[in-house]
């Protein structure tokens, strides 16, 4: 594998982890918005408990992806940032409002809880749509370069203000909501709550399926580059078959209440969707004008970058594993039960139960 492809693979891996982690955090916000029924409050609390300790770490995958893009493929980054300025700026507003409102809600008076909750939830809906719009615009070949000068050719609007990017945006939102609901079925301790999220996961799966179909139809009409990439490759059929198997497997597992299996399959399904997009546009970073090789930084830069990534991973991977083991290793109630203490995260250390292990 040449260094440019290797960095691109790391970039896709980074985006995958962003989608599987950060995407589900946004999906949690969607379920905050749609919290209903007698357990609405408990649903919101479960979402907050689930994303509280990890959303900031999950968010860094996006920052890493952006850094990889501008270090390794600077002309692609410059072109994307120019042609997709508007949806990217809206996504940023969403990112700022989501993170701030979530934190303010955690530390502000309970009296104004509802106000922060609303902002957090609306921002959690807007951000994934805008992220999907940007991905859809790139995939559809909307970001064009002048063949003579290599400069971006754009009117700042037509690349993204089309049906296909928005279909991808809504599809992204549905997938994030689906992921969140599936994860929450595992994290819910209460049977009723688990059933709430099981139903939500199933309806999100239906919505995601419908939007996937709509995106595909629109791709054929609106994004021929994408359509060709998705259909005409030798690996197309087996690849889509795997995605479809994961998706139907996840639904079947949800149906039969095998939630851990459903979680694994849902994550695999979403990863395959993302990889399907990446593979469909390989070897282009900006189809149809810019290949990875043409956009790539000099080999020395890429080599050092890969070395830095490898060195960073040595520190990062154990830290991440530790984070997820502490907070997602087993249901919090079980951990609390074992430690013999009833409280949440606000008790003093040194009291009973804090010295477990």
């Amino acid at each position: 594998m040449d260094p440019a492809t290797a960095v691109a693979a790391v970039l896709v891996a980074s985006l995958t982890l962003y989608v599987l982690g950060g995407g589900a955090d946004f999906g949690g916000g969607v379920w905050d918005l749609f919290a209903t029924g007698p357990r609405a409050r408990a649903q919101r609390d479960l979402v907050a408990d689930a994303i509280g300790p990890i959303w900031e770490a999950n968010h860094v995958w996006l920052v890493l992806a952006v850094v990889l893009l501008f270090v390794a493929f600077p002309t692609a980054f410059a072109a994307i940032a120019t042609a997709l300025h508007v949806p990217l700026a809206l996504m940023l507003v969403g990112i700022v409002l989501r993170g701030s409102a979530f934190t303010f809600r955690t530390y502000d008076d309970p009296g104004v809880h509802a106000r922060w909750s609303r902002i957090f939830a609306v921002a959690s809906v807007v951000t994934p749509v805008m992220l999907g719009v940007c991905i859809g615009a790139v995939a559809a070949g909307g970001v064009r370069l002048d063949p003579a000068t290599g400069a971006v050719r754009t009117d700042f609007v037509s690349a993204w203000l089309r049906p296909f990017p928005f279909a991808v945006g809504l599809f992204t939102l549905a997938l994030f909501a689906f992921l969140a609901a599936v994860y929450l079925t595992v994290e819910a301790e209460d049977r009723g709550l688990r059933e709430d999220f099981r139903r939500r996961a199933l309806s999100a799966a239906v919505a995601a399926g419908a939007l996937a179909f709509a995106s595909l139809v629109l791709a054929r009409l609106d994004a021929p580059v994408m359509w060709a990439g998705l259909t005409a490759r030798p690996w197309s059929l087996p690849f889509h078959a795997t995605t479809g198997l994961c998706a139907s497997g996840a639904i079947a597992a949800l149906w039969t209440r095998r939630f851990r299996l459903a979680r694994a399959l849902a994550a695999a399904q979403v990863a395959f969707v993302l990889w399907g997009w990446a593979a469909s546009q390989y070897p282009y970073v900006l189809p149809p004008d810019l290949t990875l090789a043409a956009a790539a930084a000099p080999d020395r830069v890429l080599g050092l970058l890969l070395a830095a990534l490898a060195a960073g991973a040595v520190v990062l991977v154990p830290s991440l594993v530790y984070l997820f083991r502490v907070f997602k290793g087993r249901p919090p109630a079980l951990a609390r039960l074992e430690s013999g203490a009833p409280g949440g995260g606000t008790r003093a250390p040194g009291e009973a139960g804090t010295d477990r292990r």
């Binding site: 509280g52 300790p53 900031e56 770490a57 968010h59 860094v60 996006l62 920052v63 890493l64 952006v66 850094v67 501008f70 270090v71 600077p74 002309t75 980054f77 410059a78 994307i80 940032a81 120019t82 300025h85 990217l88 700026a89 940023l92 990112i95 700022v96 989501r98 993170g99 701030s100 979530f102 934190t103 303010f104 530390y107 502000d108 008076d109 700042f156 930084a297 000099p298 020395r300 830069v301 050092l304 970058l305 830095a308 960073g312 520190v315 990062l316 830290s319 530790y322 984070l323 502490v326 907070f327 430690s339 203490a341 995260g345 003093a348 250390p349 040194g350 139960g353 804090t354 010295d355």
Partner: protein, 447 residues
């Protein structure tokens, strides 16, 4: 407003906003970790309460800092695609390393904030230490990238393209050490003084509250130490700027003519039309000495370059004077506090001194903002000094005043909310009365 001005305004506003949260993200975890260490050693509940309060403040600042930092990493491309297309690969090293530092910060802050009853006490404290260390590292890497814009290195320009790119040489650019040192110290100084000022206010209301006494003592020790060291770092920086960015230094000092034995100007108004500085108090040969170490050393003036290559002199000069004035005042307060504490062998808690600290509380952040104005405006009209002009790097996108206005409004609202939340946190402070025998020094109790 022209699109270039709007883009510069948005970038400046985003940086000015983010730097406050970034500085808190560097220094606050350090205070928090020291406080928790004292708790682990003494098992004194005052330290625990203080640690928890500071952790809450850190959580709010870190979250807003993380999202506003994300905005900046995108804005590099949204506003300056011409810059990123050239500079991205060259300054990639510090940015990728910063990514990992930021990762560690976010991971261990999550463990710290939510893990009180999930990890053993020592692991919890260590998580705080990792947050403090990676926060500082993260700042160092980002400032390194900025230093490269001031003293670009690690590439050659051939036919308008960067070739022979050496990312390591770019990272070790001539300004990297001085700038990162200056900014890191500034973070501890600004945050130390701001926190000390808040607790000084608390002490003025409740002089016997141990909560405020300890917080004040710790924060002032950290901020004061930084304040005393900072002039040394400033001197090192100034000599570096004199050598590598003489036009910036000339603007900082409002020095128009190239001159041996140049005077140091205090105050004064640079008249850019007449190319002269009026109403400044001058210390003869002072500037030559500070810039070169020799009273007769030559200092280059602004007129050594054409007008279109000069930064806006008045802004840079005034911002520089403001930064130095704030810094010297804080260093003086720190020295006074040290003398008082040493002579009385106890916390300097006289109301007059406390008021002085309250007065100094915002100055560190004011100095940071002013210092960034010096660095950034002083580099104009260049975005990469001597290589690429800011006007040539801006996005072709029209109507940039709209995102500028939108993000400004957003950040104003966020700033207001953070202030309200902080006021509530601080003024709902718990009361731990000091023991009469302790003379205000924390009474050590065995665990």
């Amino acid at each position: 407003m022209s699109d270039l001005l709007a883009a510069r305004g948005q970038m400046a506003m985003s940086l000015a906003f983010h730097i406050v949260f970034a500085a808190v993200g560097i220094a606050m975890p350090f205070l928090m970790a020291v406080s928790e260490w004292r708790w682990l050693r003494s098992r004194d509940p005052v330290w625990l309460e203080l640690t928890r309060r500071w952790a809450k403040g850190t959580a709010i600042f870190f979250a807003v800092g993380a999202v506003s930092g994300t905005v900046l990493s995108f804005e590099l491309g949204l506003l300056w695609p011409g810059f990123m297309a050239h500079a991205g690969p060259i300054i990639g090293m510090p940015f990728s390393l910063e990514g990992f530092a930021f990762f560690l910060e976010a991971i261990f802050l999550g463990i710290y904030l939510y893990g009180w009853d999930r990890v053993p006490p020592r692991a919890h404290w260590l998580a705080g230490v990792v947050v403090a260390a990676s926060g500082a590292l993260s700042g160092v890497f980002v400032v390194t990238a900025n230093a490269w814009m001031n003293t670009p290195a690690g590439f050659d320009v051939v036919d308008g393209r960067a070739v022979n790119v050496d990312p390591v040489a770019a990272m070790l650019n001539p300004a990297a050490f001085q700038q990162t040192l200056h900014m890191t110290i500034a973070a501890y100084q600004a945050v130390g003084f701001a926190v000390a000022g808040v607790h000084a206010l608390g002490l003025l209301r409740e002089p016997r509250n141990l909560f405020h006494r300890r917080a004040f003592a710790l924060a002032l020790t950290v901020g004061g130490t930084a304040a005393v060291l900072q002039p040394v770092s400033g001197d090192v920086s100034a000599k570096q700027v004199a050598r590598w960015q003489p036009v910036k230094l000339a603007a900082m000092e409002a020095q128009w003519e190239t001159q041996r034995g140049a005077p140091l100007r205090i105050g004064g108004w640079p008249d850019e039309e007449a190319e002269t500085t009026r109403w400044a108090a001058e210390i003869p040969r002072g500037l030559s000495f500070l810039a070169t170490g020799d009273f007769d050393g030559e200092v280059r003036g602004l007129t050594s370059v054409p007008r279109e290559d000069r930064p806006p002199v008045a802004i840079v000069h005034l911002a520089f004077q403001l930064m130095v004035a704030c810094g010297l005042f804080m260093a003086a307060v720190a020295a006074l506090g040290a003398v008082l504490a040493w002579r009385r062998r106890r916390l300097p808690d006289d109301p007059a001194f406390l008021r002085l600290v309250v007065l100094a509380a915002p100055l560190g952040f004011l100095a940071i903002e002013a210092g960034w104005v010096v660095t950034e405006v002083g580099r104009q009209p260049w975005i990469i000094h001597g290589v690429l002009r800011t006007a040539d790097a801006v996005t072709p996108m029209p109507g940039l005043v709209v995102p500028f206005a939108a993000f400004t409004l957003l950040y104003l609202v966020l700033a207001g909310i953070v202030i309200v939340l902080m006021r509530r946190q601080v003024f709902a402070s718990p009361v731990f009365l000091r023991e009469p025998s302790g003379e205000g020094r924390p009474a050590r109790r065995p665990a």
